[in-house]
Amino acid sequence: MTENTSPPTPSPPRRSKKRGRVLPGFTPAMGFTIAYLSLIVLIPLSTVFLRTSGMGWAEFVEAGFSHRVLAAYKLTFGTAFLAALVNAVFGLLLAWVLVRYRFPGRRLIDGMVDLPFALPTAVAGIALTAIYSRNGWMGSWLEDLGIQVAYTPTGITVALIFIGLPFVGRTLRPVIEESDVELEEAAATLGAGRWTIFRKVLFPTFFPALLTGFALAFARGIGEYGSVVFISGNMPMRTEIAPLLIVTKLEQYDYAGATAIALVMLVISFFLLLTINLLQRWSSQRIGHR
C-alpha cells in the first residue's frame, strides 16, 4: 500500500540493477526481512490454508457455512459496510472542514482524529457500551425515543464507525489539500452552483481516495473484535460477529470450525487488500496527472 510514493528525484540516470547495488548491505537486510517475515507472518498464516486443505469439502462447507456462521457473516459484513459508508460521508465532511476552514479548536479536533488508532479497542468497547447502555449518556436519552443501541446490530455499527473513523480522513486529506481552489472559482464564474461544483468538480477528484478510505475502513471493520464484543451482547444468530465465532470455536477446541471461518475471512480480506492496492495506484496516478 506504500508503493504510491515514487522517488521524486528527477530522472535518476540508468536505473539498472547493478547501479542499485552500489550500496552495500542488500543481502543481510533482505535476508533478515524475508526470514523475519516468514517466521512471524507467512509460516504461521499458512497453517490456516494447510489445516483447511486437510479437511474434506463437505466438512469445510459444514463448518464454514452453517446457519449460525452465515448469520455471523451477514452481520459482520453488513455492519462493517454500513459503518464504512457513514465514515465515508462524515470522513469527507471532517477532512473538508479541517483543511478548508479555520475556526477555534481546529487544532485540538485535528489532533484527536487519529484517536481510534491509538486507543486500545477494548477501552473503546467498554466506553461505547457505557455511553449507549440504558443509563449511559446517550442510552438513557435514546431509550426515551424508543431506540436501543447497546446489544443490537446498531451498537456494533457504532463501534465500527469509531474504529474506522480515521481511514477516510487519512486517504482524503492530501487530495483535499492539493485540490486547487481556482478550479472551483472557475466553475463558479461559469455559473455553476455550489451543488454542481461539488458534484462535477470536487467529487470526481476525491472519489478514488474516498473509495480507498472506505475500503480500508470496511476491511478493518470486518476483522474487528475488541471494541465489538462489549457492545454487541454476543447472541448467536442475532449479534454474534464472525471473529467472535472464531474465538468461541477455539474455546471449545473446535479447531476445524475455527479455521474454516478464518479461511473464508482471510480470502475476503486478501481480496480487499488487493483492491485497496489497485485503488491506491489509481488514485496516485490521478493526483500525478493534475
Partner: protein
C-alpha cells in the same frame, strides 16, 4: 491501517502552506457554519464522548476509588506484563522495519511491490485470526505441539505466545512509516558518504539513520500504542490466567465482566493516557517535520531544485 505518511512528509503539507496564504473572503456563507457544525457534532459524538466517558466512569466514585484500583497485585502484574511485551516486541519490529525499508527503498529488485504488500498483510488479518494461527502452530494439537510438550516448552497460553501475537499485529507499523520516506530521500547522500570512504555500516548509522529519525520515532510510538493496547490477538493466545498471562487490556475485560466498573475504567484510563501521549507526540513530530521542511525550502532555488543538485 493505511498509515499514509504523505500527511507527515509528503508534498501535501507544502500544498497546505500554499492555501494558507490565500485570503478566502467570499466563503462566509451559512453553508460553511452548517458544515463546521455537522463535523463538530460527529467529532463530539464519536471521538470526544468515548474518551471523556472513560475518565468519567473511572472517577465515578472519586479519586480514592480510582487510585485504589491500581493497588492490586493483579493490576500491577498486568501493567508489568504489558510493559514487558511492548519492550520486547517494539524493538524487534523497529529493527525489522529498518532492515525492510533499507532493502526496499535503497535497491531495485523484482517483486518489490509484492514484498511491500506482504509486509502490509497483518493489517488485513483479523486480530483474532492472528492469535489463532499461533495456536495452530504451537498449541497442544498444533504442528509443533507434541515436540514442545516433550521438551516442556510452553508458548501458547504463556508469555511467548503473547509476544508472538503482538509481534504479528504490530508488524508493519515501523516499516510502512520508513519505506516512503526512504524512497523519497533517494540514495545520493549514501553514495556521497561511500565516495568519501565511509563503510556500509557507518553510512547507515551516520547518514541514513539521522535522516529518518522522526519517521522512525513516529512508527515506534504507533507500534508501541498498538502493542500495549492489543486485545483480540492476545486474548486468543493468553488463556486469561490472572497474574500470569493477563495484559492490561485483558485485565480491563475481566474487571468489566465482574461488574467492577470503576477498576475496569481506571485501568482503561491508564491505557487512554498512553493513547493521548501518542497523539501528542505525533502532533509534535508533524510540527517538527513541517518546520524542518520550511527551513529546507529556504535553501532551494525558485524552481524548487535543491541547491546541491544545481552543480
Amino acid at each position: 491501517m493505511a498509515g499514509n505518511t504523505s500527511t507527515l512528509h509528503g508534498r501535501a503539507a507544502k500544498a497546505a502552506e500554499r492555501h494558507r496564504g490565500r485570503p478566502r473572503g467570499s466563503n462566509n456563507s451559512p453553508l460553511r457554519y452548517v458544515l463546521i457544525g455537522a463535523a463538530l457534532a460527529f467529532w463530539l459524538l464519536f471521538l470526544f464522548m468515548p474518551l471523556a466517558s472513560v475518565f468519567a466512569e473511572a472517577f465515578r466514585k472519586g479519586a480514592g476509588a480510582y487510585f485504589e484500583s491500581f493497588d492490586d497485585p493483579a493490576a500491577l502484574h498486568a501493567i508489568k506484563l504489558t510493559l514487558l511485551v511492548a519492550a520486547i516486541s517494539v524493538p524487534l519490529n523497529a529493527v525489522f522495519g529498518l532492515a525492510a525499508s533499507w532493502a526496499i527503498a535503497k535497491y531495485e529488485f523484482k517483486g518489490k511491490s509484492f514484498l511491500t504488500t506482504l509486509i502490509d498483510l497483518p493489517f488485513a488479518v483479523s486480530p483474532v485470526i492472528a492469535g489463532m494461527i499461533y495456536i495452530l502452530v504451537f498449541g497442544a494439537h498444533g504442528w509443533l505441539g507434541p515436540w514442545l510438550n516433550e521438551h516442556d516448552i510452553q508458548i501458547v497460553f504463556a508469555v511467548p505466545g503473547i509476544v508472538l501475537a503482538t509481534l504479528f499485529v504490530t508488524f508493519p507499523f515501523v516499516a510502512r512509516e520508513l519505506i516512503p520516506v526512504m524512497q523519497a530521500q533517494g540514495n545520493e547522500e549514501e553514495y556521497a558518504a561511500l565516495t568519501l570512504g565511509a563503510g556500509g555500516w557507518q553510512t547507515f548509522r551516520l547518514v541514513t539513520l539521522p535522516n529518518v529519525k522522526w519517521p522512525l520515532f513516529y512508527g515506534v510510538i504507533l507500534c508501541n500504542a498498538r502493542a500495549m493496547g492489543e486485545f483480540g490477538a492476545v486474548s486468543v493466545v493468553s488463556g486469561h490466567i490472572r497474574e500470569m498471562t493477563n495484559t492490561m487490556p485483558l485485565h480491563v475485560e475481566i474487571l468489566y465482566n465482574e461488574y467492577n466498573f470503576v477498576a475496569a475504567f481506571a485501568t482503561a484510563s491508564a491505557l487512554a493516557l498512553v493513547a493521548l501521549s501518542t497523539l501528542a507526540l505525533k502532533s509534535f513530530i508533524e510540527w517538527r517535520a513541517a518546520s524542518a521542511r520550511k527551513s529546507r525550502e529556504g535553501e532551494r532555488l525558485p524552481d524548487n531544485t535543491p541547491l546541491h543538485q544545481t552543480v
